[in-house]
Symmetry: C2
Amino acid sequence: MKSPEKITKQSENFSKWYTDVVRVADLVDYGPVKGTMIIKPYGYAIWENIQAIFDKRIKSKGIANGYFPIFIPEGFLKKEKEHVKGFSPELAVVTYAGGEKLTEKVVVRPTSETIMYDAFSKWISSYRDLPYHVNQWCNVVRWEKKTKPFIRTTEFLWQEGHSVLATEKETDELALGRLEEYRKFFEEILCIPMYVGKKSEKEKFAGALYSTSCEALLKDGKALQSATSHNLGQNFSKPFGIQFEDERGKREFAWQSSWGMSTRTIGGVILTHGDDKGLVLPPDIAPVQIVIVPIYKDAADKKQVLEYIEKVKDKTKGIRVKVDDRDQYSPGWKFNEWEVKGVPLRIEVGPKEAKEKKITLVSRIGREKANILLAGFNTDKELEKFKKSLLEMAKKFVSENTFEVSSYEDLKKVIEVKKGFALAPWCEDSKCEQKVKDETTATTRVIPFDQKDIKGKKCIVCGKEAKVWVYFAKAY
Amino acid sequence: MKSPEKITKQSENFSKWYTDVVRVADLVDYGPVKGTMIIKPYGYAIWENIQAIFDKRIKSKGIANGYFPIFIPEGFLKKEKEHVKGFSPELAVVTYAGGEKLTEKVVVRPTSETIMYDAFSKWISSYRDLPYHVNQWCNVVRWEKKTKPFIRTTEFLWQEGHSVLATEKETDELALGRLEEYRKFFEEILCIPMYVGKKSEKEKFAGALYSTSCEALLKDGKALQSATSHNLGQNFSKPFGIQFEDERGKREFAWQSSWGMSTRTIGGVILTHGDDKGLVLPPDIAPVQIVIVPIYKDAADKKQVLEYIEKVKDKTKGIRVKVDDRDQYSPGWKFNEWEVKGVPLRIEVGPKEAKEKKITLVSRIGREKANILLAGFNTDKELEKFKKSLLEMAKKFVSENTFEVSSYEDLKKVIEVKKGFALAPWCEDSKCEQKVKDETTATTRVIPFDQKDIKGKKCIVCGKEAKVWVYFAKAY
């Protein structure tokens, strides 16, 4: 029997803790090409659960999926000048194919605005075609210098939704509506509270009029941009020629929005809920929601326990349950393994439980044990309780690690000592933002929608009149 | 109102019919890079249905999904010499990335054996790790010279399953078992009968010990290789070093199988069931299984009809139903549109139906009309009936277009005049196979598992003693 692998403590080396967890919990392996990742079945099952739930939510809004090619002619990228400037440094370029040098190089999609919008320009001609929405689940490639499994990889999986609308107002509403969908998904399904707001000019998506984002505050005090929704204005419709005839027969350029969420989300889950024992998974996305571990000494015990477990299983219909009846591992070994893998609830069943018609229920949070009657066991209620605790813990952490600051000194203290989010008055000048970045490596995360009164406040960097409250933090 | 687009008749120009159908039914558009295809929402919904059903079947066998990187170091391909020879001409190669020339070129996966098996060599060490299976749904790229939507495209979507086993016998069983799963899926879900058997040496997968295949006979008499399952022997485990310690502590090279099915399947559905009116979709994969078209002249009629349709909908729970209540199109226009899109059943409801508590039910096959009482309408039964008819029609076509031949002249007649499959005695010499290909463009499709007595039969090409019966046909 292999002895369980050790996981570095969070307090010892947080970054090492993370790479230990993703390896020991069997989520990923490293690919042979720099910065690529293999998502192993246990990790991929988490993504499948995320996909299934979010896909249903997308479809419930009447938005269908499609699929656009991974190869984009290099010339398409160049049509929107900010877009190409932003993505050029990260592109993977195919120059040979089918044994020949290509006459026009093709890039592997880093995002699909350009290839989709070329198609939209052919599909859309009238106001009757609007609003037009399409979503796709696919792989994208961005050649990154520093990588980390799930958080930043050369190739990742995501959904990218694209909407074409007639007016600025509708596009504002759509972009904010999609962001709110993400926020709800993170909170309701992944138990991660999010700060939502607008990105600064400097931090917005390359080519957007403005970007909005959900930002998580992780256990190491860093921020994770977890989903974004952009109002692209007419920045793409003009170079790509997406025009429609309005009710009065006038040709107008369309307005657009794109919105996306990726496998990075799994990194966010790990870095929000994980502890020194390993993963802690929100029930809705856990590949195994309840693990049942039989405990017995001899064959007679075993028979009795396994028979009783069938009755326990009857109470878990519709739940992803695993009975770990492997003979070659001890119960203690199994407890450890399923704790590393973040299974929300564990049920221990021995001869005593079988006799008394009870179960020993152990929560992955705090690993509290409860010896309860099987008759009184309600899986839905227990999993709901688990979700609630998880979200409450995360909310508490976020609130305890967010600090309002009124001076540059305070900001530095939050970033460098307390390690968290600093909510600061800012003049909106990107020079001030840049200064903070240069000196502390912290960046503006979002200008929250929920703005407190800013009147009379001074920018913590330059001292001039502040225009907005903004969150600063170090980010992944 | 746009007038419905015309579709070329099959008898006029079959190839034009196909490209008309995929365009007019709004399944695909062409991508900007040669041979790429955009799968539009209606086409993608068909793929999603195929995926959902087949994925469930894969998982029911205890096989989980994972995800491996799209980028493969060029050197990996070269490790298995037949494999690289087979795939080299079709590779897309990334030579620049992140603004720099790469020191080792990477290829965009044409299939994932090499990148997966490099990983497997690290994951597998003992007989206890076997059998090991993993499946992935992904995009792959093969730079093809001649392309056709769904049938052969530069990029396509597929599932590729990979199995690692301890012995040859288990691998034979696994490979044949997976093929049988495909055959059942095609017949039960897509209503397409398949010829199953072994590929000739010349036609097998590059790197396989042997390949097995499901071959469909399409309406134009051509064959479509629709899914394959390979016994890879130890051809990959040796160069990639996939070894395990057996029960006695001896190190052995593993045996392997890979098996796959792609978006080509949608092409197979169109080319098996489609007719001059457009698509005919098997109910299980149809994005819309039943369309309800209200028929009314005035507002009073409309109100009554739409109210009655709510009752009709009560009878269609669990079914993908669409009520086409668009005011700007006539019923006739709608009938045509949904026929092009291949919706299995149409329900017409007018004031007469509403009054008499009836519906007019129209099948996409033959477009027979039936005026029946709503109370007697059973959706499951009707859809089952539809499936049965579809499969029967396809089986009849296949049987009518498969001919046993005993001379080369007969073979030519089948290939060039009758246009179908020729079942012929063959000596298994690839020179004979090549001669047929050179002279008729037909290739060997499969050596059927179900072999009739071959004793005394002569190879139709060279006249020497025949060893097997084999199907010859022109293929996509």
